[in-house]
Each structure stands twice: as structure tokens, then as C-alpha cells.
């Protein structure tokens, strides 16, 4: 199948996860992505951001983020290398980076510089806290962005300490936003021939992520909403929304009618709760009653009753259970990629289907500078 971004050349100077997760998406959609890495150490992700599980000396995380890309080494602080690198930019469709503000000015690679060289280029720039302001030089790192944007007061229960989301959500969401901006710019360019500057910060991304609850905060007297005392899942949603312990495990309940739930579960204290506004104002008490009741039977017992009545509920799976489930299997989320040494690695695929087809690619992550020679020949030969 013809992929939508075929013949689009992306020059990616970004490191770590945020920018590289955007270029991974562009690669899966058909673009050619060349990682530009500094000599010897390369992408900081090769050594700094690691799981305790490695393949060929590099962590599984690096492999997951950088599959389906090429790697070329250029020392941008060296004038000769920089000149050769500029020849890549002259023929690129997209250039992206996530350096701190000021770095590209020092290298002579700002949008002004690059668009003078290639007016049609889409130049995408991702920062931690924006290009200006008191925090512009602070590290734009996922946990730190979660920390300053208030999002750590949304997960967990009321008396828990601030609780970060346990996946690098600021990086990943920034990557998705950056991809949207780049694609919008490429679309406009296809219509008009004009390039564009696309800018984003992780801070803006994390504020956007909270747009529903922040809008509530802005318009409701700037009150913050404490998390549930118990069985928390979303600070702004009424009971029964939450995760509950049963005799042998857990189950989750989404939005639902408390009275009906009381009847179905034969939990009599809930059957009188017909005042819907109390489902929010007294949610902690309702959840406590529900929790005590759900502890008296096993998960399967409850789910049979609830699912039969079309109540929004679910069992809770870990990766091992998920991977054995037919519902997971049928999605075909896994794919195998092969790295330079010939080793195969299982990872997930792009979540988007186009014309009913899965977007998969067997190309593993490149070793540092694996494609420098090819790329030099092509652009500077």
C-alpha cells in the first residue's frame, strides 16, 4: 500500500522521547526519518533513559522509540560538518528539534536560517516551557512538567501525596501535538507551497491535556477539586466512578445510576439514593458503602450481574492477562522488528489504520551513525 507520507524527508535532531515519538509516527505513516546524532554518544536516550532490560547494549526503550529510522552522525559544532548537514536541510521537507531555547541560534539553525536555505521547509520546535520566560532554560523533562502543571493532584486518592502518571505522558502527548502541527503544515504546503514554523512546549501540552478540568477551575471560582477520599479515578466525576476491591481482586465502575446499581448488587443503602446531585457531593460515602459491599463476593460474580445489565464496568488486567486475551489478540498490536545485528525484537505498532490496513515496518532502530555513509553519498556525493 502507498503510505500517506511517502517521499517526505524528515531531518530529526530531537532526542529522548518527546520529539522522537513524533518522528516515529511520521515514519510509520511513510516518511523517511533521519536521526541526526552527535558523535560518540548520540541521542541522549541511548544511555540516560534506560530500563533494566537491554538488547545489544541499548535499552528496550531506545529500540521502541527509534525503530523505522536511520541514523547519521554530524558534529554540528564543527563548521565542515555543519556545512554538509545544511545540504540535507536544503532538500528536507521537515526539520525538527527539541533543544533548549538558544541552542539553535548558536548553531545558526533557527527557522530564519533554515527557511532562507529552504523556504518550503516545515520547521518544528519543541521546548519544555516555551521560548521565553523564567523557566526557559530549565530541563524539559516529563516528570518535571507533570510536577509544575498540577496534574499530580488528579491521580490517586485525596490523602495520597502528589501522584505522577506512571508513563511519560508529557513527552508522549507533546509528540502527538507536534505531529499534528507538522502534518497540518505539510497539508498546507501541499496546497500552497509555503513552509511553516510549528512551535510547541511540553508545558502548553500539559495544560491542554487538562483543558476540561482547568476550564472548570477557571469558571467555578478557581476552586480546586480534591480527589476522592477512596476508590479514586477522576476527581471531577461522581460516584460510582472508580476502582474497587473484591474478595479476590478488583473491578472498575464507570458512570452509572446509583439506585439501579444498588438494586442489581442488592446493596440496600444505595437503593434510596435517588437524589442525583448527591452522587457527586456524597461520592466518598457512596463509594465506601459500595466498596464494603463489593468485598463480599468475587470479581466474576459481580461482573456477571453488571455486564448482563449493561452497566459500564470492567475487570482489571495486567500485561500478562491482557496478552492472553482474545480481545487483545484480535487487535494485532504487536510487530517484530529486526535490528542491525540480526536480532529480532517484539514491539507495538502504530495505532492508526488506514484503508483497513495496519501500518507495520520490520525496520529496527539504527545503531549510532549506521547510515552516515549512505546519507553523505546521497546529499554530499
Amino acid at each position: 500500500m502507498t503510505l500517506p507520507l511517502e517521499n517526505i524527508l524528515v531531518i530529526d535532531l530531537s532526542q529522548f522521547l518527546s520529539g522522537p515519538s513524533a518522528s516515529l509516527r511520521l515514519a510509520d505513516l511513510g516518511a523517511e526519518v533521519i536521526k541526526i546524532e552527535k558523535p560518540i554518544t548520540g541521542d541522549i536516550c541511548r544511555e540516560l533513559y534506560v530500563s533494566d532490560c537491554s538488547i545489544d547494549g541499548e535499552s528496550t526503550i531506545f529500540h521502541a522509540i527509534n525503530r523505522n529510522k536511520k541514523s547519521a552522525v554530524y558534529d554540528l559544532k564543527n563548521d565542515e560538518d555543519l556545512e554538509r548537514f545544511r545540504n540535507l536541510l536544503a532538500r528536507a521537507d521537515v526539520m525538527m528539534h527539541n533543544f533548549r531555547p538558544g541552542v539553535m541560534t548558536r548553531l545558526g539553525l533557527t527557522y530564519e536560517h533554515v527557511s532562507a536555505l529552504n523556504p518550503g521547509i516545515v520547521y518544528a520546535e519543541l521546548s519544555g516551557y516555551g521560548q521565553d520566560g523564567p523557566w526557559k532554560d530549565r530541563p524539559g523533562q516529563d516528570l518535571l512538567l507533570q510536577a509544575v502543571t498540577g496534574v499530580t493532584y488528579l491521580t490517586g486518592n485525596k490523602n495520597d501525596p502528589p501522584t505522577p502518571m506512571g508513563v511519560a505522558v508529557a513527552d508522549i502527548l507533546s509528540g502527538t501535538q507536534l505531529t499534528q502541527g507538522i502534518l497540518a503544515a505539510l497539508f498546507q504546503r501541499s496546497m500552497t507551497g509555503k513552509g511553516a514554523l510549528v512551535q510547541l512546549s511540553m508545558m502548553e501540552t500539559m495544560i491542554d491535556f487538562q483543558f476540561e478540568v482547568l476550564t472548570c477551575f477557571f469558571n467555578d471560582g478557581r476552586q480546586t477539586q480534591p480527589r476522592s477520599e477512596n476508590n479514586g479515578a477522576h476527581a471531577y466525576i461522581a460516584a460510582p466512578y472508580g476502582v474497587y476491591r473484591t474478595m479476590d481482586g478488583y473491578l472498575s465502575l464507570a458512570m452509572g445510576d446509583i439506585v439501579r446499581l444498588g438494586q442489581l448488587l442488592q446493596c440496600s443503602p444505595l437503593t434510596d439514593m435517588s437524589d442525583k446531585s448527591k452522587w457527586f457531593s456524597e461520592r466518598d460515602a457512596i463509594k465506601e458503602i459500595l466498596q464494603a459491599h463489593l468485598l463480599t463476593q468475587k470479581t466474576a460474580f459481580w461482573l456477571e450481574i453488571l455486564e448482563g445489565a449493561d452497566i459500564w464496568c470492567s475487570e482489571i488486567l495486567d500485561y500478562e492477562q491482557l496478552r492472553k486475551h482474545e480481545g487483545y489478540d484480535i487487535l494485532k498490536m504487536e510487530q517484530e522488528v529486526v535490528i542491525g545485528s540480526g536480532k529480532a525484537l517484539t514491539t507495538t505498532r502504530c495505532p492508526i489504520r488506514i484503508d483497513g490496513e495496519l501500518l507495520i515496518s520490520a525496520k529496527g532502530a539504527p545503531s549510532l551513525g549506521e547510515h552516515t555513509r549512505d546519507i553523505e553519498k546521497r546529499f554530499n556525493g
Partner: protein, 382 residues
């Protein structure tokens, strides 16, 4: 101002958050987004409030997600309405919907039917769990998706039990993925002249979110384990986490342990070698937690920041909105609704050619734009 998606017409059959969040992003990037709503009920999100906050007949939540859009009401079960709608579909560039599998087909609005009328259309759908399999008719609701996807074992400390993300991550991510697919398909259409079918599901989006953790699990066979305290990411070693100080909390990201020990003069941390920072992270974090609780956040920041240690204070929204670092981003914008209410909300996070993207256009009433759209696209049969 020239916006990248100017001139595009998007028909939004989607409800609640996932699809409408995609529509909002397309609108902010310049597309004209028309919600197709049931004449009486409209988007079900109109009646769904968070924290019981309402603007007019519709919830504040609905206004937040659906600003910068128009509304065209249509009873999809009426043949007359449907034939009018088909004329509009003939002029549209994009359709989005998030009905359960089979619903659009039953209405006569499946991809094949729509593409036959308009071969250039991008037809984009969000399902809960894909079109097939044992979950296909299960409600595609955010918390349920989180529960099935393994995500509940990433946040919170080990003893906390399964802990959901406190925001609708599945909805928001799948909305973003839908936008990506739509824009890529529009780029392809420019080359080929043909539209595409773009499909995402909440489940696939939340699995994609966990791609680092899943890839590591596939390779190691070990389930990720949250740390006993200060958990922030199950795959990362000490000191990565949030720590209580004498007057607040402090977040510390990846940091060489011995360097940290020397800067804060905590000798006990020197007992651990670099090879032990993952295996012994709970003990290390415990020592660090005790030590950091003795002084204020400002005290520690004063020591750590000048030494380039990756750390920040933990802020709530009151504190965040007071910070110059927040204000200078200009993330807030005002909207005046049809009934004259003023709403403050956030803007699109993407900057375009150095400018922020704002729009004062409020969310529409049900069918508010029927007359103008019928007139403009000559949809009335007379």
C-alpha cells in the same frame, strides 16, 4: 490570519470527548467543523457535567470541547433528513464518528456508502476496541479501557492497588491519533485525488501510550513493578520521583546518585553503586525521602538548580497560575456563548508561524446553523 486547514469542511458525527476533541483541534487549525446532532438530544455530552457545572442548557464540559464549531441538526432515522445530509456529505472533506461498530452502517452512513457519494472524503472513526472480537460491543469508555490495558499498574506506589490516570487519557489520545490519521490522509489525497478510511480505537491508543513498557515486557517477560514509594515510572531507577519536603513537594528526574548525594550532603546515598540504582531503588528512595523532608522546597531548589540537577517544585493550579512561567504562555482565552455568558478556557497548544491560535467562537446550540448551512450549500429541495 492564514491557518493551515482553512477551506476544509469537517462533519462531526462524534459525541462526548474522543471524536469531538479531534474536531476541536481541526477547528483551531483552521477547518470548519460542523457537528451533526440529533434535533432534540444533540451530542450526549451536552447533558454530561463534571463537578456539576452548567452554562446554559448544556454543560460547561460540552462548551469546553465544542467551542469553535457549528451545529447542523439532523434526524439520521428520517429519510428526508438523510438525503439532505448526503448532499452536505458530497461537499465535505472529512467525516468523524465514534459510534459503536455497525451503527453508521445501519444508518446507511457506512464508509462504502459515503465514499460512493464522495470518493475524496476522509472517513475517520474511533471505536472502543476495534471492529471485531469479544469486546466490540463493550462500551468504549475511558476508565474501562484503562482497566483492560494494563495501565492501572503504572501509577501510584506498589501497595496502592490498581490506580487509573486521573484524566480521560484514552479519549484524549485517540482524538489526537485520529487527527494525525486525518491529516496524513489529506496529504495523501492531494497526491492521489482519493480519500481514505482512517480508524483508531481507544484501546490501541492506550496500548501505544505504553509502548515503552510493553516492549520492555515483551523482551524481559517480567511485569513492570512500581516502586514502594515515590513511584513515578515503573521502569526508572532511583531517585526518579516526587518527595515531600518540610513545606511541600519536590520532583527529581534522572540524576546521577553520587552527584546528588554530594550536592545535598547526604552521605548514606554514597553507599550505593551505580549498578544498584534500579535494584535497590526502594531503599535509596526511602533514605532520600527522609533526608529531603527536613528542609523546605526552596532550600533544596537553591542547592540543586545551580548544579543543573533535574528538579522542579510540585505545584497545584493555584500556584501554577501565579507563576510567570505560566502567565507568559498565554494559555487562557475568553469565549462569549450565544446566551451571553463569558467562559474562560485554554487555547490550542500549537503555535503557528510564531503566533498563538485563539478563537472567540463559542460552542453552538443544537441546529444553530441549519439555515445558514442549507442556504450556503443549497440543500433545500426547492
Amino acid at each position: 490570519m492564514d491557518l493551515p486547514l482553512q477551506g476544509l469542511l469537517v462533519l462531526e458525527f462524534s459525541q462526548y470527548l474522543s471524536g469531538p476533541a479531534a474536531g476541536l483541534r481541526l477547528a483551531d487549525l483552521g477547518a470548519r467543523v460542523v457537528k451533526i446532532e440529533h434535533p432534540e438530544k444533540g451530542d450526549a455530552c451536552r447533558k454530561l457535567a463534571i463537578r456539576n457545572t452548567w452554562v446554559d442548557d448544556s454543560s460547561l464540559l460540552f462548551h469546553t470541547i465544542n467551542r469553535n464549531k457549528e451545529s447542523f441538526s439532523s434526524n439520521l432515522k428520517s429519510e428526508e433528513d438523510l438525503s439532505t445530509l448526503f448532499k452536505l456529505i458530497g461537499r465535505a472533506d472529512v467525516i468523524t464518528h465514534n459510534f459503536r461498530p455497525g451503527v453508521m452502517e445501519k444508518l446507511g452512513l457506512g464508509y462504502d456508502k459515503v465514499a460512493a457519494i464522495n470518493p475524496r472524503i476522509i472517513y475517520a472513526s474511533i471505536s472502543g476496541y476495534g471492529k471485531e472480537g469479544p469486546w466490540k460491543n463493550k462500551p468504549g469508555q475511558d476508565l474501562l479501557i484503562q482497566s483492560l490495558s494494563g495501565l492501572l499498574f503504572t501509577s501510584g506506589d506498589q501497595a496502592a492497588g490498581p490506580t487509573p490516570f486521573g484524566l480521560a487519557i484514552a479519549d484524549i489520545l485517540s482524538g489526537s491519533h485520529l487527527v494525525q490519521g486525518i491529516l496524513a490522509a489529506l496529504i495523501k489525497r492531494h497526491k492521489t485525488g482519493r480519500g481514505s478510511l482512517v480508524e483508531v480505537s481507544l484501546m490501541e491508543s492506550v496500548l501505544d501510550l505504553q509502548f515503552e513498557l510493553l516492549t520492555t515486557y515483551f523482551a524481559s517477560g517480567h511485569l513492570p513493578v512500581r516502586s514502594a514509594l515515590a513511584n513515578a515510572h515503573p521502569l526508572l531507577s532511583a531517585p526518579y520521583g516526587i518527595y515531600a519536603t518540610a513545606d511541600g513537594h519536590l520532583a527529581i528526574a534522572m540524576t546521577p546518585l553520587h552527584e546528588l548525594a554530594e550536592i545535598i550532603a547526604c552521605e548514606d546515598l554514597l553507599l550505593f553503586s551505580n549498578d544498584e540504582i534500579f535494584q535497590k531503588r526502594d531503599i535509596i528512595k526511602e533514605i532520600l525521602a527522609k533526608y529531603l523532608s527536613q528542609q523546605s522546597t526552596a532550600f533544596w531548589l537553591g542547592k540543586l538548580l545551580p548544579n543543573d540537577i533535574w528538579c522542579m517544585p510540585v505545584l497545584d493550579w493555584h500556584q501554577m497560575t501565579e507563576e510567570e512561567g505560566y502567565r507568559q504562555l498565554h494559555m487562557e482565552q475568553d469565549i462569549v456563548t450565544g446566551s451571553g455568558d463569558r467562559i474562560k478556557t485554554t487555547r490550542c497548544p500549537i503555535r503557528w508561524n510564531g503566533r498563538i491560535l485563539t478563537s472567540a467562537k463559542p460552542a453552538p446550540g443544537i441546529g444553530e446553523h441549519n439555515a445558514s448551512i442549507k442556504h450556503e450549500f443549497k440543500l433545500t429541495s426547492e
